[in-house]
Amino acid sequence: MAITTVPETSRKPGRPPSPYSARSQRTSLGRKVRDNLTGHAFLIGAVLCFVVFSWYPMIRGIVMSFQRTRRGETTWVGWDNYWRIIADPSFWPAWRNTFYFTVLALVLGYAVPFFVAVLLNEFRHAKGYLRILVYLPVMLPPASALYLFKFYAYDPSEAGLFNAILKALHLPTSQWMQSPQMTMPAMVIASTWMNMGGAVLIYLASLQNIPGELYEAAELDGAGIWRRIVHVTIPQTRLILALLAMLQIVATMQLFIEPLILANGAGAEDSATSVAYLIYQHGFFQNDLNGAAALGVIMLVVLAGFSAGYVRLTAKQD
């Protein structure tokens, strides 16, 4: 690689010492070049994979969104792909559904794991068992788990598991995926069940790092359980809470397999169409890869806007 022939003056000062670089300070330029070459030789395989399957597609996606390929001929079309995708009647419903899902998933998939973790952390018994239980669904292939929900739990007749429970509790049963109002909550329930294990484990680990003296001091000051959670637990796990909120938003914005399997894609009255599903629909069914690329870029911009606002928000708090 050309990089490794850069003269030694361009070496960054203040790099942490490594036995290899320490040696090369005393030795010749040739030695240094060789050490760098060795280092890059170990990197090259992974870097090539990143170039071909990650960095290049990123740029290519943006380029594609301004082009149109028809019958093997590629031309520049400016913003045409963007206008076409925005004009798709499913465009706004898809965004509305995706945001709705993100908000519901934040309420359910973000707060619930935290309190589950707080609860589990207090138990002196059966902790390992409960931890395994919570994480078990994460290991199921999503397709398997979703067929379970589709056929058994969300069966709109009274033979469905959820309806049977509702009926036993003398509550009104639901049409689940056949009702546009219940589509999203039903998908959030399935998604939370499948995915919350990871968050619970991460919270549990961070809860275990809280120094016990803090709780003791709070208790001596007369703080009850709730106030100890608010004034000790939450501030002490703030960083992890913030990080997981961001990761959760990125993950839920990509909602795809839930609508595909539970709602056969669009669902009743477009109530399940997500942005990710629309990308798939345009790219692989309507033969409109360029439009799909444009929607991908829009999604990236929205997420970047989210993260920027989020970073500003959390920076202010500190």
């Binding site: 050490d35 067929y147 056929f151 484990l201 914005m253 990236l300």
Partner: protein, 295 residues
Amino acid sequence: MAQDSGTRTLISQAQISRGRGRVIYWTLLVVVVVGFTLAFLGPLYWMVTGALKSGQEIAQTPPTLFPKDPRPQNYVDAWNNLALAKLLFNTFYYATGAVLFQLVLDAAAAYSLSKLRPIFGNVILGLMLATLMIPAMVLIVPQYVTVLDLPILHLNLLDSPFAIWLPMVANAFNIFLLKRFFDSIPEELMAAALMDGASSLRTLWSIILPLSRPILGVVSIFAVTAVWKDFLWPKLVMPSPETRTVSVGIYTFAGGTPMNVVIAASVIAALPTVVIFLIFQRNIMSGLTTGSIKG
């Protein structure tokens, strides 16, 4: 993640072991254990036994708790009609290759970034970590187009296992996990190896890798489960019936197959990952938490 005993948590040990606190603690514990068992194991029980019911019994109101007339035939049908043996073999093959490619290329890269530290190494690491912020859905279209016609080489990787193996290598999270582990290996060991005249490759092979067995195990398990759980990417790049993965195969057949057979197939598809999890749960959980916490 040892069973923490003695460390003070939200509620003190004293409060739990005394009269009223003790009653509340035990009630809550029982409620949670029963509740979690129902919520997380219940659906799995439903899945396994439901697949044993006849089509008639599944539609019955109220649903039966035990299959009245168990029909293991559903599992046999699923195995035969969906060609599950072939699907499972494909998925297993892709998973094994993904583990090998990730272990070799990502461990080498992490070793270089952690110990050899070539020039621009930090820039490369930064660019790799930046990909963690890009949602996979954004890249799916350009990635697919790239696989159809690889730049420079002009190869079409459709239906080739490399279409799964190579993108799996571009996994910043695993490189980060490995690098952090390698970082914790003392530099003195490296220096000693250097004094003895060991080459970089030799050092990696005889010193770093033997010390890193736990993290290599974690990365392997993550690779296997990632391949097993992935859906959209294998659906796109493995379109032929002969190359499908098990999740995609079930999805393809779900339309025209009785639902108890689909569920039976889902149970069989889920079995390998569940067994892996039950065997390696300690490694998986420690890998998950070390990767995310101390960063």
